[in-house]
């Protein structure tokens, strides 16, 4: 039985010291590790805790980036991402913040961005300098997908119950079911309180990063060649799933649209702070019918007007990035993201 006692002692040591030994690097490399967060969104907490500590230790200036797959800079590797380029440029010219934290995730909706802001508040990470992106599809009426909060439903429930209750019918219409009952509660407590369980994914990546025989390739979200080299892409984009993102029906710009509901909350949260909002462009050669539709143009103008009237710096990237820098209809190649960052950087300096 002695051995059981030793196991208990060792497990207690792990319980109290584990987070101290875990490094941020394998989990966050100019952006969050997609697989890690996708499989368990609670891993975001570890990343935020570590970033919070880093910020407190350095006391330097920093920028937070939030957004979807464009903000994440998919599908290429992290060294071809917005966060990477912005940080490099800022450090080279040492005019802007020295550190950039890109907390974007593919499929993030404005509801997720708002929840992330609340999480950042909770962790003591200021959003005095914030860049976030929106997409045209986000304003399109949902039927019922995508849900207005894609990743962080439980967190929104915890951090802003009122907003959660307001949006719950839309979440429910998308098949979301709240985990209820004693078993679910016990499960949550165990996963939250036992360090080994809570940090298991992070521990796994940390351990693997030390193993020489595991040579993980740089994380990408797929084929990141330019769009014109991809066979079948144009045909694929004619499927309803993609075309629905470009519907030219007039937008509902009231709070009845979940996009506006959460944008209002975000903008309220960012009052008095430096906030840059951008909307990514669309590849005009791949989607000519869509981007040239009068309704589409009108809708885009509505989005422009919406942000122009607010206390934010706003960039509409439509026609600002040459089509050759696209990797599909909306995502960019490494060079494309670099050009995007140059424009963002110039706009920030212009504002200064």
């Amino acid at each position: 039985m002695r051995v059981f006692r030793y196991i208990v002692v060792y497990m207690l040591i792990i319980q109290f010291t584990l987070p101290l030994f875990l490094q941020l690097n394998p989990i966050y490399d100019y952006r969050m590790n997609y697989d890690l967060v996708k499989d368990n969104t609670e891993n975001i907490d570890f990343i935020l805790d570590k970033i919070s500590r880093q910020i407190k230790a350095s006391e330097g200036d920093y920028v937070i980036i939030l957004g979807d797959s464009v903000g994440f800079s998919g599908p290429g590797p992290s060294t071809q991402s917005i966060g990477y380029f912005l940080e490099k440029q800022a450090q080279e010219e040492s005019a802007l913040a020295a550190k950039v934290y890109n907390l974007s995730m593919p499929a993030m909706q404005t509801g997720d961005i708002y929840t992330m802001l609340l999480k950042l508040d909770e962790k003591g990470i200021a959003t005095d300098k914030l860049i976030f992106n929106v997409i045209y599809a986000g304003f399109v009426a949902r039927n019922p997908d995508p849900p207005p909060v894609f990743w962080l439903k439980e967190e929104l429930k915890r951090l802003d119950k009122e907003a959660y209750d307001h949006i719950y019918p839309a979440l429910s219409a998308n098949g979301y079911k709240e985990e209820k009952g004693i078993l679910a509660a016990i499960k949550r407590i165990l996963w939250d309180k036992i360090a080994l369980l809570k940090y298991k994914d992070v521990l796994k990546l940390n351990t693997f990063s030390y193993l020489p025989f595991i040579n993980e390739e740089a994380e990408t979200l797929g084929d990141f060649r330019p769009w014109y080299e991809k066979e079948g892409l144009a045909e694929m984009l004619q499927e309803p799933e993609y075309l629905n993102s470009f519907l030219d029906t007039p937008f509902d710009m009231s709070k009845n649209n979940p996009q506006i509901f959460f944008l209002e909350k975000i903008l309220e949260h960012q009052k008095g702070k430096d906030t840059l909002v951008y909307i990514g462009g669309t590849n005009t050669e791949l989607m000519p019918e869509q981007v040239n539709a009068p309704g589409y143009k009108d809708n885009l103008a509505q989005i422009d007007n919406y942000f122009m009237e607010r206390e934010v710096t706003y960039i509409n990237f439509q026609n600002k990035i040459d089509n050759q820098y696209f990797t599909d209809h909306v995502h960019l190649t490494g060079e494309g993201y670099q050009k995007m960052v140059q424009i963002i950087y110039a706009k920030i300096n212009e504002g200064d």
């Binding site: 039985m1 060792y10 497990m11 996963w191 369980l197």
Partner: protein, 474 residues
Amino acid sequence: MLFQTPEFILFLGITLLIYYKFPNLRLYTLGFANLLFYGVVGLGAVILFLGIITISYLLSFGLQGKYKKIFIWIAILINVANLILFQYSILLLTSLEQLLAIELIIKNTLVTHLILPIGISFYTFQMIAYLVDVYQEKIEVCKSWLTFWVFMSFFGQLIAGPIMRGKDLIPQVQKLKTIVLDDANLKLGAGLFLLGLFKKVVLADNLAIYADLAFQHGASLTGPEAWIAAFVYTFQIYFDFSAYSEMALGIGYLFGIKLAVNFKTPYISRNPTEFWRRWHITLSTWIRDYIYIPLGGSRKGENRQYANLFMAMTISGLWHGAAWNFAIWGMYHGALLIGHKFYLKFLDKTSLKKFANNIWSKLISIAIFFPLVALGWVFFRQGDITVATQMINKMLTTNPLAVDSSLYKYILLILGLYFAHVLEYIAIKNQDKITQLWHKILPAPLRGIFYTIIIVIIVIFLKNETSAFIYFQF
């Protein structure tokens, strides 16, 4: 509640504490724990289970009286009907539809909304074994409902076996009060549970990633790829199912209850007869005792014996699921068993028999039989029989010398897994010596570090979306 989840570990820990703290209440503790464990599945499944148990319990009192024949038929019919209704009604109706070219399944009726109660195949077989044993007066009727409930629903083996017999488990349940907290049992129980967890979480679940991907693209696989897919699944299903059985065994030991061993490193078998003595032992002995022997076994001539074998194995296949691919898998094993009988007859007639126990002969037999087992798993895993046939066709027409170099790593993986299987066999065979040596070489603090590392490895491999054991669906 799956064995590999933290909530189950907590449930197990609390139940164990109460169980040993209050010896006089052990029957109630286990009875309640079983109800709680199965209750998680859903109220409907619990009510059905309680109903079937209570009806069978009441009918069992008539099994040793004047009308025992009527009672046994009623009891078996109720249990089989329950199984057929939930597990086979859709298969039977769709097969009839195809045969008669008429529509029998009407959408949104009761049949289309039936949900398969978890563990139904296992508890039905355990129940039938009990009823027949009482009828044949091999065991006494269990007089206490609570004892009967604990025997039928012990959470350690309720969902996926081992299928226990009344003579083995009921006396242990009746003597729960006398069980003493035993160091050796606790160590053995914890060790088996940990071993099972490791097999499931680290091995089976990770092999499943490759096997699932390969079988999804079954039709487009080349011969060598199909072989690799079959071998990977061969190990996945073994690690998955034997993991559950070892965890069940471990849980049993933790409570001082000895459950039946279900697996004895089956892939070192030389022939199908040996395989079924090593694979899912409690099912194969059940099939032998309650189907094969009542059908006449080997008592009614050779041809009848072959027919009985074939029929018993087909039923065994169908027991695994309501799909024809399982039946084909059973028939395939039936054919292998019959083939083996012919082979033995051939050996008897020739002078080759004297070589049968030669080490080389044994190794060659294993090398031939193991791929045959893997071939059979293709039918088991691939629900689409056409695709399974295509895969097998390619496997049987493969040129072994034309294997693409990109597949070498998978071949290495399979060889490694087989080596691990052989090591497992050696370890079990020399269990006592290894345990003694282990305790002699490593002091408790170092052993503690080793076990802690194993726990850490298991936890980091734990999936966020918990994967159920393969045999839970049967």
